[in-house]
């Protein structure tokens, strides 16, 4: 079975520029997550989708970050404008369940490493 796909794998931008990341989850997975992982830290949840609806975006900096999951499959995460502190790996993950049960093994993609100069 194909895993979670993400692109691009690497991105370097200047501060105040915009950037977008794309994620294709495992087929049939209802729940999709975007995490930010700063070097030396654990993944931090930014947003969680159940199908095409948002179920948690409490830690998403909404003044500059946005995400959508049209048609309940692919998702994009956008940063506009980027700041230096946004330099991190952005991980996409998906899980089979709806996010409303206590079991949701998450499958992570390879991530996009963002460097903001």
């Amino acid at each position: 079975e194909a895993g979670v796909a993400q692109s691009p794998r690497y991105k370097i931008i200047e501060k105040r520029q915009s950037v977008a990341f794309w994620c294709n989850p495992i087929s049939g997975h209802a729940t999709l997550y975007w995490y930010q992982q700063i070097l030396g830290q654990g993944p931090k949840l930014l947003i969680q989708f159940q199908n095409n609806g948002v179920v948690d975006d409490s830690q998403l900096p909404k003044d500059r970050f946005s995400a959508e999951r049209l048609k309940g499959v692919d998702s994009t995460l956008k940063i506009q404008p980027a700041k230096l502190e946004d330099s991190a790996v952005y991980l996409c993950a998906s899980s089979l369940d709806t996010g409303r049960t206590t079991y949701n093994e998450q499958f992570f993609g390879p991530g996009t490493r963002l460097t903001v100069l």
Partner: protein, 113 residues
């Protein structure tokens, strides 16, 4: 909000030695998951613990969930170089209408051959 603390931050061992990482939550958890992230890689699911006091084994790895469902540990017996990586615990919150994981900062394990 929920906080998950993990210690130690780093651990360097000689091959063949044992290794343990500990995880503590500020709140009672509905379950806890463990992930491994190899250098340059992405987190990979290892196991989930749900019941109070639960112990699970995977070959040389032993996972425990505390009686109060607020702490957990991962113990590796006789480490090998293939065990190198960062081990994260991730606590799932208890209660509410949605379940989400809060990751600890992880323990980076290095193994000297």
């Amino acid at each position: 909000g929920q906080q998950v603390m993990q210690i130690p931050q780093y651990q360097h061992v000689q091959e063949g030695e044992d290794f343990t990482t500990y995880c503590n939550s500020s709140t009672t958890l509905s379950n806890i998951q463990w992930y491994k992230q190899r250098p340059g890689g992405h987190p990979v699911f290892l196991i989930q613990l749900v019941k109070s006091g639960e112990v699970k084994k995977q070959k040389r790895l032993t996972f425990q969930f505390g009686e109060a469902k607020k702490n957990s540990s991962l113990h590796i017996t006789a480490t090998q170089t293939t065990d190198v990586g960062t081990y994260f615990c991730a606590g799932m919150n208890s209660g509410g209408s949605n379940y989400k994981l809060t990751f600890g900062k992880g323990t980076l394990l290095t193994v000297n051959p």
